[in-house]
Amino acid sequence: MNIVMQWHDWLALFGQYLLLSLLSISGAITTVPDMHRYLVAQHGWLTEAQFTSSVAIAQAAPGPNVLFVALMGWNVGLNAGGGIGAGPMAWLLGFFGLMVTMIGIMLPSTTLTYVATRWGHRNRTRREVRAFKQGMAPVVVGLLIATGWVLAGGNQSTGVPAWHLWLLSGVAALVVWRTRIHLLWLLGCGAALGAVGFV
């Protein structure tokens, strides 16, 4: 995929991630639907497959899940540079894109957390602090389920019925909910089912 990124496009991307950082209550993963809306649907900077694979690779790799954000920036940069085979310039742009999205997603939230946890710790019995903590709880739960939904249905292939993908997501959710099996086994099963052509 080839795209053209002007400097104001990069700036808009940075601004969007700064904003999403402040909105990423309960983890960056809850902003996935909005990133999808922005990067894939609105601007077309990433393909559907690039988007979903960024999240899937980050889930499968060690480390915090937020690193999927780095892969999104990396892919936007690569697309702007003519793809991964286009040489060092594309790699450089990929690294630039990675820094844009990672700094964007990290800077506001870490600064706010740093300041607010010090304040909140001193005022943890106050009614406002408790109302915020408890009031956001149902919202966070709804966000997590919506995120799972968007990821589950996001990457349909031609030739395989869509319900296969939904079934796999549903079964995975059920197994995680009901058992304490290591998540890596489930991801491995998903990969295997994909490789043999089920999804």
Binding site: L22, S53, P62, A137, G154, S169, G197
Partner: protein, 196 residues
């Protein structure tokens, strides 16, 4: 140091990180063990093995880390680092959590791009994508029982859950508006309910 840092109050034999470098190395090691999420590893390493945090401190920090914007485990690392070495500790812990895993994931992405044209690899990743969708949804589903103790009552909470789900997943309304509108109403309503 944290203004009300428990470090000062904890007994001298309470194990502590030796330096910001120790924090960096510990969190790097911790992050590299966490496949598909780091939280469980944080609990095992920080509370059970190194004992830098008591279980109570861990629960309290975790609640705050979850409510604040940003990745939970990053927020938690930041708070632990801050507790022992202030800003330097916070930076060291967060950098440890991100730097090495970032290069690992880049290597994986490059490897993947090399084989992306192979339909089997693309299909395998599609399968993993579907599974990770299920994993995240399950994380939300598992939290539903916690809402039984909520001041708004269980039914009202479920209505909020459904409302947020519909707005984001089905109507595809931008997240900011949903948080502002639904989150705002939920917080103000809770504030009224917990009146002393």
């Amino acid at each position: 140091m944290h203004p009300s840092a428990p470090a000062a109050a904890s007994p001298p034999d309470h194990p502590q990180p030796a330096s910001p470098r120790d924090l960096f190395v510990s969190f790097t090691w911790l992050a590299l063990q966490g496949f598909g999420g780091v939280l469980a590893i944080v609990q095992r390493e920080m509370v059970e093995k190194k004992k830098w945090l008591t279980p109570d401190q861990f629960l309290e920090d975790w609640a705050v880390a979850q409510v604040m914007p940003g990745p939970n485990v990053i927020n938690l690392a930041l708070m632990i680092g801050d507790r022992y070495f202030g800003l330097r500790g916070a930076v060291a812990a967060v950098a440890g959590m991100l730097t090495v895993p970032l290069f690992v994931i880049l290597a994986l992405a490059v490897l993947y791009a090399h084989y992306a044209a192979n339909p089997q690899v693309a299909a395998a990743l599609r399968g993993m994508g579907a599974v990770s969708g299920g994993l995240i949804a399950a994380t939300g589903i598992k939290l539903i029982p916690q809402l039984r103790k909520h001041p708004l009552g269980f039914a009202t909470c479920l209505a909020f859950v459904a409302l947020v789900f519909a707005a984001i997943a089905l109507l595809k309304i931008p997240l900011g508006w949903v948080l502002l509108a639904v989150g705002g109403v939920a917080c103000v309503w809770t504030w009224k309910k917990i009146a002393p």
